[in-house]
């Protein structure tokens, strides 16, 4: 594992992605500590263009957009990470169970996974969001997580069912190891790099889903996320007012975050792909 990490550091793509991501994360975590104002406080006139006082101008309510953006990126990354954790965990558990146990359990779980794949998850996302009354950013993140696991489950299942028939698993079995032990020590290490990659991808797509659903006005309440900033810009007709600063920075932030995550994923793929590796 340590060895893999050392190789990873040498990959320019991974380092570029990780660099962008870490710098961004540091910025949005540190800036609110320096500028301790409330991002929802109205401090200027509506749609003021960027100036030395308001770095990214003000929005329709006269709020500081740069400060809003900092909080928005924070929320979006948090929602993305929570969604990623949920999606990866569910996908991993279902994939491992289905691949390792096999037989009827496998058939059942694979059918469930396939059903989730053919139903467009975005529609489920909208329907669940509409039907829930209190939406915090955590609830939104969980909803995104439980609608986006099927691809992870499929890939994990495929890898597990091929690993299950490897000789080292047989050796572990006839050495009397218990099933949980075999899964943790004989199967998981082999798919760990894949799971980390899937997690990064799920996080990126979680951020995108949050942005899309918030832009439709179905996102979390009482918080600021990148999607919500875009939603405000849309609802209060920032494009008509010519206030590009109300939505372009937010859109670029989404692009930059997902770009950095995809870059990390590509870097990892090049290293962990068994065909290229060793």
């Amino acid at each position: 594992m340590k060895n893999s990490f050392n190789i990873l550091i040498k990959s320019p793509k991974f380092m570029l992605g990780a660099g962008i991501f870490i710098v961004m994360l540091a910025l949005v975590l540190i800036f609110p500590m320096i500028n301790r104002k409330d991002p929802l406080e109205m401090i200027a006139l509506a749609f003021q263009p960027p100036s030395s006082q308001l770095w990214l101008g003000s929005d329709n309510f006269g709020r500081d957009l740069f400060l809003e953006l900092m909080y928005g990126i924070q929320t979006s990354i948090r929602v993305g990470l929570i969604a990623g954790v949920f999606a990866t965990a569910i996908g991993l558990i279902i994939g491992l169970a289905s691949g390792y146990i096999g037989g009827i359990v496998d058939n059942l779980l694979t059918s469930i996974t396939n059903i989730f794949i053919v139903i467009p998850s975005f529609i489920i996302l909208i329907l669940i969001s509409v039907s829930i009354n209190s939406r915090s950013s955590l609830v939104t993140a969980i909803i995104i997580g439980i609608t986006s696991w099927p691809w992870t489950a499929r890939a994990v299942r495929a890898q597990t069912s091929s690993l299950r028939n490897r000789d080292h698993v047989h050796i572990a079995k006839i050495s009397g190891h218990s099933t949980p032990r075999i899964i943790v020590f004989e199967i998981l290490p082999y798919i760990a790099s894949y799971v980390v990659m899937a997690f990064v991808l799920q996080t990126a797509s979680g951020i995108l889903s949050e942005a899309s659903i918030s832009m439709l006005g179905l996102g979390p309440y009482n918080t600021i996320s990148l999607g919500i900033i875009m939603n405000w810009a849309l609802v209060f007709e920032a494009p008509v007012a010519g206030a590009w600063w109300a939505f372009i920075p937010a859109a670029l932030s989404i692009a930059l975050i997902t770009f950095s995550l995809y870059m990390m994923n590509t870097g990892m793929d090049e290293i962990f792909n068994p065909k290229i590796r060793s």
Binding site: I171, A172, I174, G176, S178, P189
Partner: protein
């Protein structure tokens, strides 16, 4: 061999994969009797079902039909504890040493888990000595490789470590599924000699799974010839090789390349 020494007995062992149109009978009503200290070879071409049969005997695959008696009792593998007890007696070496190792664990860990399977409570030093003894049995230096990862070893070293594992476990039955087919000719004879030595020291029953009739004749007491999931011929090695009854057996024997005669490749 008297029936008193009978160790494993199988009657009507059948294994069917899939169902409907895709149904394949890999092992078809096979009977066998393995005695204590006997070396048995199961010989057949690729796809004849010999590895499937081996996995059934090991308890890694569940048979679709038939019954296996172990030490005169019907074999029970329902609970994990039952299986663990069974695997204390029955162990295996697989064909591919490279896939037999967990690439993420050091060599030491494989040997330590053997001590754990036997349920021995040993001090660190006793454990070390035991592992060292096992390695020296297979001409490996434990001090040099205990904290190495499997991919730092050669195929021959890996396969010898697998035998060291068997040496530590002292099973009653060893199932060797083509143990020499992926190592070079030089390591091959060493590995075979080690296995024979194990038999002599522990009265171990060894079940060789191989496609090589020559090898089977060299090592075994009894030969089972397997074709398309069925045992077509069985008996003492001498009889089978010198006086084959079945066309398939004759075919297998004539396919063995001979160094001293010209090869007919036409």
């Amino acid at each position: 061999m008297s029936s008193r020494d009978l160790l494993i007995r199988g009657r009507g062992i059948t294994k069917v994969f899939g169902y409907g149109a895709a149904k394949t009978t890999a092992v078809d009503t096979v009977d066998f009797d393995f005695h204590k200290g006997e070396i048995i070879s199961i010989v057949g071409e690729s796809g004849s079902g010999k590895t499937t049969l081996a996995k059934i005997i090991m308890g890694l695959l569940k048979e679709s039909g038939g019954s296996i008696d172990y030490k005169g009792q019907p074999r029970v593998l329902r609970r994990h504890a039952d299986r663990k007890k069974y695997w204390k007696d029955i162990q295996a070496i697989f064909q591919d040493p490279f896939s037999s190792f967990n690439l993420f664990q050091r060599v030491e860990k494989l040997l330590l888990s053997c001590i754990r399977l036997q349920g021995l409570k040993l001090t660190k030093e006793e454990q070390f000595n035991k592992m060292k003894e096992a390695c020296s049995f297979v001409n490996l230096k434990f001090e040099e490789l205990y904290n190495k990862y499997p991919f730092e070893l050669s195929g021959g070293q890996m396969q010898r470590l697998m035998i060291a594992r068997i040496f530590m476990l002292h099973p009653k039955v060893l199932i060797a599924d083509e143990p020499t087919s992926m190592v070079d000719a030089c390591s091959r004879s060493t590995i075979l000699d080690m296995l024979l030595k194990l038999r002599d020291e522990n009265e171990m029953t060894i079940i060789f799974i191989t496609h090589d009739v020559g090898l089977a004749y060299y090592v075994s007491d009894t030969i089972y010839i397997m074709e398309k999931g069925q045992i077509v011929e069985r008996g003492p090695a001498e009889d089978i090789i010198l006086n084959p009854q079945q066309a398939y057996t004759r075919q297998l024997i004539s396919d063995v390349p001979k160094i001293h005669t010209a090869w007919d490749l036409g």
